[in-house]
Symmetry: C2
Subunit: 201 residues, 2 copies
Amino acid sequence: MAKRPTDRRVQRTRQLLQDALIAMLIEKGYAATTVQDIIDRANVGRATFYAHFADKETLLASRIEDLRAMLTQEQKRALATPGGVPERSLGFSLAMLEHARGHLPLYAAIVGRESGAFVLQRIHRLIADLVGFDLKALAIKGPAALHDLAQEYIAGAFMAVLTWWLDHGAKLPPQEVDGIFRRLAMQGVAAELGLRPAAKG
Amino acid sequence: MAKRPTDRRVQRTRQLLQDALIAMLIEKGYAATTVQDIIDRANVGRATFYAHFADKETLLASRIEDLRAMLTQEQKRALATPGGVPERSLGFSLAMLEHARGHLPLYAAIVGRESGAFVLQRIHRLIADLVGFDLKALAIKGPAALHDLAQEYIAGAFMAVLTWWLDHGAKLPPQEVDGIFRRLAMQGVAAELGLRPAAKG
DNA sequence: GTGACCTCCGAACACATTGTTCGTTACTTG
DNA sequence: CAAGTAACGAACAATGTGTTCGGAGGTCAC
């Protein structure tokens, strides 16, 4: 996937910039962060930044791809149950909630700032992809369009739950939030798309 | 609420700017639209713009408040059923879908552009408020936190459905999308928060 | 180690956008 | 009609973007 850059300077620079982005995200939020902020924080030349990333957005995307990789792996683990039965649908949910709790300042900053919308939108796409993968693994009837719709429905709902949870200080334990979300979501989907409402908690 | 400006020049200018914003939203999306674009389109002086609105965002907000007013009124109508029974929960849903179909180019532009995230976030808040109002009107058990969570859950899910629908050309009739959404949402909420699962489209 | 190569630096640049100012012109209201 | 007020428009400083370049210095392959 990601081609390994051989030159250590490249690795170092990319890492510095990515770290600096995260730091600024926490400090000022995405929209308020300028390229100047990032390169100052990273202590990297301006030209160097543009040698690696086309703009702020591309840099952000590189980080989100890392998140995607992690969640995808976690989802695979959740789906691969011994009996072949999808015991635990919506497997990304708990993983993401726990990842969020493990990086609370970052997530809180993304979600708390009103300008985090752009970042959240990218994460929404990531979640929707995972949900699509998940729904495909379930025995689901219904036309493809309804499939798509349910996918977006669940992704949107999850993003909202995640946002709410973070906005309220992430007080409830991830397991609990995960449980509520999965029940809220699966009830409707099971009824509308017709699959057995197993996979609770 | 909104104080009526007496001077016709004021009314005219504000209207021109609001219309120009909509036009630019359709043409380039929110993020790509500059104040310069707006005042060029409106054929209004730069200083004049800033005499009326602090920035692009404020101008947008003024439009969204109009939308809020419309949907609130529509919701009241849906809630005020003769028997006093909340026959039709989530009353904003159909109204919004139909409003979207009536302003398809605008909605498609907001939703289709990746930079529409900011606008969508504002609309999410609007929807969440309406949902809160709606949930309050239902006989719902459960702690306040769960209330809040459900509110965000539903708002997020609706935004996702709306986005999906628009992204796919708004082919399905609003009534159908409304029905699917309400069933998806109410099943889970009814089960989790404990209320009779009446109110099926 | 050494040489060839590549990356980074840093400063400057043109360009776009923002939000403000102010004197002048022109419209609106009472 | 006269006083008040809004709009014009041109200029301004401030900030941010993305690009360019030669030269300095680190890195890899041998």
